[in-house]
């Protein structure tokens, strides 16, 4: 598949994405940007990690590069050719493995080569070699259902590598696996990659039959472990916040000071955006109430998760590094950061660099009994969470203190996609319910104001 011409300077560029913007259209016709002007070059011999929270469009970017979806503007080129369909030079490893359950391991691995019309004997040889390489010897005739998650993902790797792609794309390949299995597989991947690289970077090698790897992840540790370059993406819309080079030799040691520093830097970058949020929380409440639910979306945090984080923080003396908390709890960015965002939004904690510190408000919340805690939470969400505040205000404005959820969904759709509007409202409902601000009738899709004292205005609700 490869042409070993004399390498030119630009010859080692495999995939180039230029100013890729992807917007989805909201139901009422507004454009909702997911990716905003992202450029990326993948060269031979490197592993690049795309790191970001949910909503950063990292998977969308990967799919643009794979040629599975078209960018709204900007171009993606493979070896200088613009894509108009699935990228012919890449293979992909999926988070969910994406194996065909009715084919055996070997048939799954052979399938992609069959699509390329590789003769049968050669196909079998290559498949067996890939199966061997990835440590699946003896499982050729097993069906995916018979295998554990880790073994299934090995099949995913074998299938991708068997076609000897120019570049290997990986979409959160380890996040469906348990921690130990993921670490194990990640380690083997590093070993194979380095084995291949030693035989000659950029060249085809027996060790690892691909020339470059692009991995999407929300696990900071994973990115730092694997990548030569880390591209950190912001959320809503996704832009490249920073590009970090990782020059540490692989396999990398977590206790290496350089490693720790890098992890802290990434946390710093990812929470850096929060400073704006924090500022908003600290200025006069009037200014916050001027912020609309669209300007300041609610983070996807449950009240239980939030109070858990605050309790841990309180128990640790009120201040700790985010990386340490994540490490100890085995949390990934997607799990931890929404909780941090929520705590900061509700002024229960502040973030400085890669550290998080509990505030007095947060401490009071932790030590209070349920009822006072609910009252405090109610006060905080009304003041600092624009959507909850808006809902309470709107409910107060109605005669009978109830409104259809469709009303709020319509408003939210102006700034969010259909799904995200639903998510936002669900979060607001969960928070408001816990705070006993309003009740929610799921069957009729109605929000009803909770009235602490007997109704004075008369029982119009019955």
């Amino acid at each position: 598949m490869t042409d070993d011409n004399v390498p030119h300077a630009a010859d080692n560029v495999i995939v180039e994405a230029e100013h890729v913007t992807k917007t989805f259209t909201t139901p009422d016709g507004r454009a909702l940007p997911v990716l905003d002007g992202v450029s990326l070059t993948l060269r031979e011999g490197e592993i690049v990690a795309l790191l970001g929270k949910s909503g950063s469009g990292k998977s969308t970017l990967l799919r643009c590069i794979a040629g599975l979806i078209a960018p709204s503007s900007g171009t993606v080129q493979y070896r200088g050719e613009p894509l108009n369909g699935a990228n012919p030079g890449v293979a992909m490893v999926f988070q969910s493995f994406a194996l065909l359950p009715w084919l055996t391991v070997q048939q799954n691995v052979e399938l992609a080569m069959q699509a390329r019309d590789v003769p049968e004997a050669e196909r079998r040889d290559k498949a067996l070699r890939a199966i061997d390489l990835i440590g699946l010897d003896g499982f050729e005739s097993a069906y995916p259902k018979e295998l554990s998650g880790g073994m299934r993902q090995r099949v995913g790797f074998a299938r991708a590598l068997a076609v000897e792609p120019d570049a290997l794309l990986m979409d959160e390949p380890f996040s469906a696996l348990d921690v130990l299995t993921a670490a194990n597989l990640r380690g083997e991947l590093v070993k194979m990659w380095d084995g291949g690289a030693r035989e000659g970077a950029g060249k085809h090698s027996r060790g690892f039959p691909t020339k470059a790897v692009l991995i999407v992840t929300h696990n900071i540790d994973e990115a730092v472990q694997l990548a030569d370059r880390i591209l950190v993406l912001s959320s809503n819309p996704g832009r490249i916040l920073a590009e970090l080079r990782v020059d540490l030799p692989r396999p990398r040691d977590k206790r290496d000071p350089g490693y720790e520093e890098l992890v802290d830097t990434v946390y710093d970058i990812l929470t850096g955006r929060e400073s704006a949020l924090e500022k908003a929380a600290q200025i006069a409440p009037a200014a916050v109430s001027a912020m609309t639910p669209v300007d300041l979306p609610l983070p996807a945090a449950s009240v239980g998760g939030l109070s858990g984080l605050l309790e841990i923080l309180d128990a640790r003396g009120g201040r700790d590094g985010l990386a340490e908390i994540a490490e100890d709890l085995n949390f990934e960015v997607d799990d931890l950061l929404p909780l941090v965002d929520a705590a900061v939004m509700l002024t229960m904690a502040t973030v400085a660099g890669s550290d998080i510190e509990i505030t007095d408000e947060g401490h009071t919340f932790v030590v209070s009994a349920t009822d006072p805690a609910k009252e405090q939470f109610a006060r905080l969400v009304v003041r600092h969470a624009p959507l909850v505040g808006a809902i309470v205000k709107a409910l107060h404005a109605t005669k009978d203190g109830s409104l259809r959820e469709g009303f709020f969904l319509d408003l939210l759709r102006r700034g969010f996609s259909e799904d995200e509007a639903r998510n936002q409202l669900d979060i607001a409902i969960a928070w408001g319910r816990w705070a006993e601000l309003f009740a929610y009738d799921a069957e009729r899709g109605e929000l009803i104001l909770e009235v602490p004292e007997p109704v004075v205005t008369g029982g119009s609700r019955l």
Binding site: G85, P88, F94, A98, W102, A112
Partner: protein, 578 residues
């Protein structure tokens, strides 16, 4: 899915509410029927097959031969249904423009009582094969086909559009060809719903087989050698004992087909299940186990492999299962508008032609009469559903919640549901004649003979799918009596009941065409209803009346489905699905 799923599969009814496109399609179907009617030749005697007998022999010794002929018709129709399913579903799922028309069309088609149109299809097929009984054969197979195809197509289409996104992406990035994708991904992932719906539709199709083997065209009755026409002949002779023999043969046939064909198919389809399931309630089949141990699989696979390889090569020029990422927007819009305009214009022209045709013949006034008759039949369907519900829901719950009972009752109910109720009509008619009961009431009973089983069948499936921890929790809390029914059992089986109710109602409408007019010996009973209207119109080959009757019945069925069943289904899905 429990070891025996609901029928029809869920996706069939989970569709949006009435839209303008449905109206266009409804009219379009009427136009289609009208076109068929116009295609049918002016019925001159030479066109009619001369050698086809008007009655088959009622010698019981002929029965095995007749059974084989009937079975052959069923399987030919099944093969045609599968081919139709593959082509139609794939077009609907992969061609965005076509899907806009194809899916509503399918939706309406499954509500059209094809039985009423049998005469018209017979004449159309006869014109294709003038002077031979092949036309009759085709018409019978076509009637059976219409009983199988729609549900299978819906189920397969549903599996195509709900394919997991990651598998779709994997197929595209592996650059599978269209052919490879269809056989490696599309068909395997739709195999389970296809087999289950195929099995159930096959069961329902026996009814159509029995009804379509003996047809009256232009006051002349034709009979194809088959078990259905045997019963028709026996009925005319008033020989209940011969009918009884035929029923025994029929039961044996239904059971044999289940054991030798469908059970192995269901067990075999399990290999295409994506998620791991508990090994305990996995469908098994002794026949399949035997087959697997034999040399048959290898003997089949060996010659098949090079054929497969060749086909793989030959279909390569059709290209990859890919669509270009970007299309010029303007051209696409223009295409959409052009397509929609073309379809609407064609439908409008056809509708105009149909209306003028009826107007010229002075039949337009018949519509009011037909709607009135439809009301009577509608009343029968409602009464039937109420009684069937009151009787079969408690029974179904009892069976479904007792694993031991349901193990025995399952196959029995399945045979009952498959058994063509029209074979039992002679006994019922004899009873009516003896007791002097009017067919206006008795018709309900006849319609119920076939339709009620869908309710029982689905209620059993629903009740046996109730998680045991829920049942234990109810027991521990001491929830019993009426409270147990109101708060626990009825809500839990509601979605299954609705599915059964829709199917039963549809079956009852179709059955009304054969149930509202019955003859036994020299007795002739007729009820006041739309079914009788269609039946007598087609016996007299009064095509305009057939068209009016069928269109009115379709409107009733589609209307009730949209206004009542779909809403109930939406509630069931949103509120009561476990």
């Amino acid at each position: 899915m429990a070891s025996w799923g609901m029928f029809p599969s869920r996706g069939v009814w989970r569709r949006p509410a009435f839209r303008w496109v449905d109206a266009v399609v409804l009219v379009g179907v009427a136009v289609l029927l009208f076109g068929l009617l116009r295609l049918a030749p002016s019925l001159n005697a030479p066109f009619l097959p001369s050698q086809a007998p008007s009655q088959v022999s009622t010698d019981p010794a002929e029965l095995p031969y007749y059974a084989v002929r009937s079975l052959l018709r069923m399987f030919i129709a099944l093969v045609l249904s599968v081919v139709f399913t593959f082509v139609y579903s794939t077009a609907a799922a992969r061609l965005p423009r076509a899907s806009k028309a194809l899916i509503p069309l399918l939706d309406i088609l499954q509500s059209v009582p094809v039985l009423g149109f049998l005469t018209v299809t017979v004449t159309a097929f006869i014109s294709l094969f003038p002077g031979s009984s092949l036309g009759l054969e085709c018409a019978s197979i076509f009637a059976i086909f219409t009983a199988m195809a729609w549900n299978m197509t819906f189920a397969f289409y549903q599996s195509l559009v709900s394919q997991p996104r990651d598998l779709d992406e994997a197929a595209r990035i592996m650059r599978l060809t269209k052919w490879q994708r269809f056989w490696r991904l599309d068909v395997p992932s739709g195999m389970i719903p296809l087999v289950w719906n195929g099995m159930m539709s096959f069961g329902g199709a026996w009814f159509f087989l029995a009804a379509s083997e003996s047809i009256t065209v232009l006051k002349h009755t034709y009979a194809l050698p088959g078990i259905g026409s045997y019963v028709a002949a026996a009925m005319q002779q008033g020989s209940l004992s011969k009918v009884a023999i035929a029923i025994v043969v029929m039961v044996v046939m239904v059971i044999a087909v289940n054991i030798l064909f469908w059970r192995p198919m269901v067990a075999w389809a399990e290999r295409f299940r994506a998620e791991e399931s508990a090994a305990a309630d996995k469908p098994r089949s002794v026949v399949l186990d035997l087959l697997r141990r034999s040399v048959v699989p290898a003997a089949v696979a060996r010659p098949a492999r090079p054929v497969g390889r060749l086909l793989d090569k030959l279909t390569r020029p059709f290209g990859l299962a890919e669509h270009p990422l970007s299309k010029p927007l303007v051209r696409q819009r223009t295409g959409d508008v052009f397509f929609a305009g073309l379809v609407t214009a064609a439908v409008a022209f056809g509708a105009w032609r149909a209306v003028t045709y009826l107007h010229v013949r002075g039949d337009l006034g018949q519509f009011g009469h037909a709607f009135l008759l439809g009301g009577a039949t509608f009343g029968r369907v409602v009464v039937l559903l109420i009684f069937a519900t009151l009787i079969w829901v408690p029974v179904g719950v009892w069976i479904g919640m007792n694993p031991k009972v349901s193990r025995i009752a399952q196959p029995v109910v399945q045979v009952l549901a498959s058994f063509p109720a029209n074979l039992l009509f002679p006994f019922a008619t004899a009873f009516f004649v003896a007791t002097g009961m009017s067919l206006n009431i008795g018709g309900i009973l006849l319609m119920a003979l076939g339709a009620q089983w869908y309710i029982l069948f689905n209620v059993i499936a629903g009740a046996s799918a109730i998680p045991s921890d829920l049942r234990e929790a109810m027991q521990l809390m001491g929830v019993g009596g009426w409270l147990r029914w109101k708060r626990f059992i009825l809500p839990a089986i509601f979605p299954a009941y609705v599915t059964g109710g829709i199917t039963a109602a549809g079956g009852a409408w179709n059955a009304s065409i054969v149930a509202e007019v019955v003859s036994y010996g020299k007795h002739h009973l007729e009820a006041y209803g739309l079914g009788a209207y269609i039946a007598s119109a087609s016996a007299n080959s009064d095509f305009p009346k057939v068209l009016i009757g069928v269109v009115v019945m379709s409107v009733y069925v589609v209307g009730v489905n949209r206004l009542f069943w779909r809403r109930l289904y939406a509630i069931a899905e949103a509120r009561y699905s476990l």
